[in-house]
């Protein structure tokens, strides 16, 4: 195997593989260094929404970035299908956030107002629908549903198959993928990066992209960058397969292309993904069942927890190092939603050696020096 590349991507999750796929697609010589199966990998533990509504409160640029991703998803899905034969089952016919009771609906309306009042935010046509309108689109809702918010740009995808398709596609583009290859050290020397692997071996590259999720916290400072993270844990409950009954994804309930129903989406400040908090699962299952009483008859076949990659303020971080030019850091919570941007936008910018500040200026980690506001980049 070779030891020198145009670009090394550290991290082979959804974000790293989307960037590496995008780089391979435009003819770069790329190597992906990844951990093994024991990695706490959000790429295998996520809710698989391609989600727009309510994103960007506190950072209008994130709204535009998310809208662009939603609009580019059909192109990514189609290119992956053509290249790999894998259908990632992208569906965008609008998504809901349902409110149980009038008070929750009122809270949702207030959030919508705050989003609309933000200067510079693109309009993504999120609207509040009353119970009767919701019932026309989601015929199985229960009596407690007071209404909800709807956004026509929301959708979902088979995220595990997307992950597989990106890796399959990467290989077809000639990208070298090396699992069980965590990076312990990165040195920058005369315009070249040297990355030390688990057995002391070195891989050299002209550029390096840090896409290692929460591990970016320790890798970024090696090349003069920073990635302040505040990861959280989420839990999911999965039912047996059932005939399609839920035509739109919800922020907390969705039916997959193969028929299972996924119920989320909790947030805890803990990082052990090997145990479950059953009281949280029961609250999630209870709320889902009040939204759709028929769910109560289905058997639960799995439940699991996963660790989110979460920049401190919830918004993505994209930045090139000033002291080690050619080193880039990329991390975000919404690796599924933003995958097309990582493939079609970030990758060409990395190849060209400069991030477009018009588009990505807001996502610099320098914002953490001036503001300690913890807003939220999700739902």
């Amino acid at each position: 195997m070779r030891s020198s590349y145009d670009i090394v991507v550290v991290g082979g999750g959804l974000l790293g593989s989307a960037i590496a796929w995008g780089l391979g697609r435009i003819g770069q010589q790329v190597c992906v260094l990844d951990e093994g199966d024991i990695a706490k990998r959000a790429s295998r533990a996520n809710f698989a929404l391609v989600w727009v509504q309510s994103k960007g409160l506190g950072m209008p640029a994130y709204t535009s970035w998310t809208m662009q991703a939603s609009d580019s998803w059909p192109k990514l899905a189609e290119e992956l299908r053509e290249q790999t034969g894998l259908d990632v089952c992208f569906q965008r016919n609008g998504g809901f956030h349902l409110a149980l009771g009038e008070e929750e609906l009122e809270q949702r309306s207030l959030l919508l107002k705050r989003l609309h009042n933000q200067p510079g935010a693109v309009d993504y046509k999120m609207e509040i629908l009353g119970r009767e309108q919701v019932e026309k689109m989601l015929p199985h809702i229960g009596p407690e549903v007071a209404g909800g918010s709807f956004c026509p740009y929301d959708g979902h995808v088979n995220s595990l198959r997307t992950f597989r398709a990106l890796h399959t596609g990467m290989a077809k583009f000639g990208v070298d993928y090396r699992p069980e290859h965590p990076v312990s050290e990165i040195r920058y020397d005369q315009g070249e990066f040297r990355l030390t692997g688990p057995n002391g071996e070195e891989i050299r590259a002209g550029k390096v992209v840090l896409a290692a999720g929460n591990a970016n916290q320790t890798l970024a400072p090696m090349v003069g960058l920073e990635a302040p993270m505040g990861p959280t844990r989420g839990q999911i409950v999965v039912t047996e397969r059932t005939m399609p009954f839920l035509p739109h994804p919800l922020s907390t309930v969705r039916q997959t292309d193969e028929g299972t129903v996924m119920i989320g989406d909790s947030k805890e400040d803990m990082l052990d993904d090997s145990v479950l908090n059953l009281s949280i699962s029961s609250v999630m299952a209870d709320r889902a069942q009040r939204m759709f009483p028929l769910l109560g008859r289905l058997n639960v076949v799995r439940s699991w927890s996963g660790i989110r990659v979460m920049p401190k303020d919830g918004f993505p971080i994209y930045e090139q190092s000033e002291t080690c030019p050619g080193a880039f850091v990329a991390c975000c919570h919404s690796g599924v939603t933003l995958a097309p941007n990582h493939a079609f936008e970030i990758a060409p910018m990395v190849a060209a050696g400069a991030l477009d500040t018009n588009k990505l200026g807001s996502f610099s980690a320098k914002r953490f020096a001036t503001s300690d506001v913890r807003t939220s980049g999700y739902y």
Binding site: E240, T242, M243, E258, G259, L294, L295
Partner: protein, 98 residues
């Protein structure tokens, strides 16, 4: 394919398979009764629609999934027959609310 042996003297139990009367024996599981019925009792799987029959007969493989008295995705190999039981061969995924 399957044939009951002549020394089986257990009492007959009438059940219904997709509406057709079938004589099982007391103590049969739903799956055993279906296999012995002589009918085409192949279900279709939830994703690809491939045909399946009960296989492990001990609760492990889930290839015996069947609708029993209006409830889908029951493991036929774990449920004893009862007189008048309504069995439906499940074609594909369980229906929501059944």
């Amino acid at each position: 394919m399957f044939k009951r042996f002549d020394g089986d003297t257990r009492k007959p139990v009438e059940i219904f398979v997709d509406g057709r009367p079938v004589v099982a024996r007391e103590g049969d599981t739903v799956s055993a009764a279906l296999l012995a019925s002589g009918l085409d009792v192949r279900r279709k799987t939830a994703v690809s629609g491939a045909p399946r029959l009960p296989y492990c007969m001990m609760g492990v493989c889930f290839d015996c999934l069947v609708t029993v008295d209006g409830m889908g995705n029951r493991q036929g190999c774990l449920i004893p027959v009862r007189p008048g039981m309504q069995i439906e061969i499940q074609k594909g995924k369980r229906e929501i609310g059944r």
